[in-house]
């Protein structure tokens, strides 16, 4: 069962990027964070698949597209356990776990309505103060936001 599952997930991609182990409820947020709704390559999305690791998971396959490290690491805010597979000629040539960067530039919104970033057309900036628990701190109003309260811009 597990082997067929694996085949279903990656076999169809000749060249490109597979993002695996995305929590199901975060899948479409990852899609919008990577702006996959705006690219013209073929994108395959699977959701609510069984995962031993996280229960239900989502998977995204993007043909002929390779992301920069800092670009792909942005999704760690939504899917800290996501795994990235780089596929060339049907082979996985590189596997990698996403990791949260030290600073998040213009990715998320501050939860404090009185923060200047919510009242001025400007980029947000957050310092990641706890990578394990996913706690970030706004560089402007200095308020901390924990995982559940994080909203993508």
């Amino acid at each position: 069962m597990e082997t067929t599952d694996k085949k279903l997930q990656v076999a169809a991609l000749a060249n490109g990027t597979v993002i695996d182990h995305i929590p199901s409820e975060q899948l479409f947020k990852v899609v919008s964070l990577l702006r996959l709704d705006q690219i013209d390559k073929s994108v395959t999305i699977g959701n609510n698949l069984c995962s031993k690791l996280i229960g239900k998971k989502g998977i995204i396959k993007i043909a002929d597209t390779f992301f920069k490290e800092e670009e792909i690491n942005r999704i760690a805010i939504l899917a800290p356990n996501a795994k990235i597979n780089i596929i060339k000629d049907y082979e996985v040539i590189h596997k990698q776990q996403v990791s949260l960067p030290d600073e998040l530039h213009d990715i998320i919104r501050c939860a404090n309505p009185k923060c200047i970033t919510n009242n001025e057309p400007m980029a947000t900036r957050f310092e990641v103060i706890d990578k394990e628990q996913v706690v970030v701190k706004c560089c402007y109003c200095e308020q901390s936001i924990s995982k559940d309260a994080i909203k993508i811009k």
């Binding site: 404090n112 009185k114 923060c115 200047i116 970033t117 009242n119 001025e120 057309p121 400007m122 706004c138 560089c139 402007y140 109003c141 200095e142 308020q143 901390s144």
Partner: protein, 306 residues
Amino acid sequence: MRNESLVSITDYSKEEILEVLETARLFEKNPNRRVLEGKVIATLFFEPSTRTRLSFETAVNRLGGRIIGFSDASTTSSTKGETLKDTIMMVSNYVDLIIMRHYLDGAACYAAEVSPKPLINAGDGSNQHPSQTMLDLYSIYKTQGTLENLNITMVGDLKYGRTVHSLLMAMSHFHPTFHFVAPDELKMPEEYKIYCDKLGIPYVEHHDFTEEIINQADILYMTRVQRERFTDLMEYEKVKNVYTLRNAMLAGSKDNLRILHPLPRVNEIAYDVDDNPKAYYFEQAKNGLYARQAIICKVLGIKIED
């Protein structure tokens, strides 16, 4: 990116804090030094604050500088929808220094980032108010002769009171022992206790405001318990007078004890305390002038000689 601006008290190292306090001491000896001759300073008060604005404007005037600005945002283009950035860019064409008070948290940090001229934060929402902290430090320094190894007892609203948080962080350079006296609803937030733990700074939390605590203190830092902070008004009614300091409570206090309060006070310090020589809150406000003169000089890189 921050250039020489002062956004938060944490922008300054221990040495820089001591340097500013020393300059403040010189200004107290002689507040009239025309070192800003020919300079124009903007005081942009997007939120009214009479005390802070008058203190900063007096500081500039006594230094011989000229002032432009506003004390109420309703008379400015921000009511037409002008962004903070545009206002700052426009004003910085005219002046050498911007002193800004804003109602939004983080506004000072952003303004300092975009401003080509140095900026002093005169309070941004509920976030930072470094000149208040500097005058608190100067008051402690002046009355105790040192900042080292003091017992600092903070009373009242320790949860939302930004002055106590900034004072805690600034004092952390000087080996203090803290006592936090607050009702459960207004306790010192966890993050500041963790901050003390990390630096090995001892602190004790108290629920009751007793003479025993007062008798150990070098500095009693009183704050206002605000009604609007309570979800349960019954709770407010219960605690509102528990954290009131009365003159009789000071009978066994140390000789060097001084009582500070960022003002305005409501009922947390009884009027009979005012005549006690240990009451220091009015002089504390006066120290704001010297502390602000010293900050202005520090930010503009002006050295003051004795």
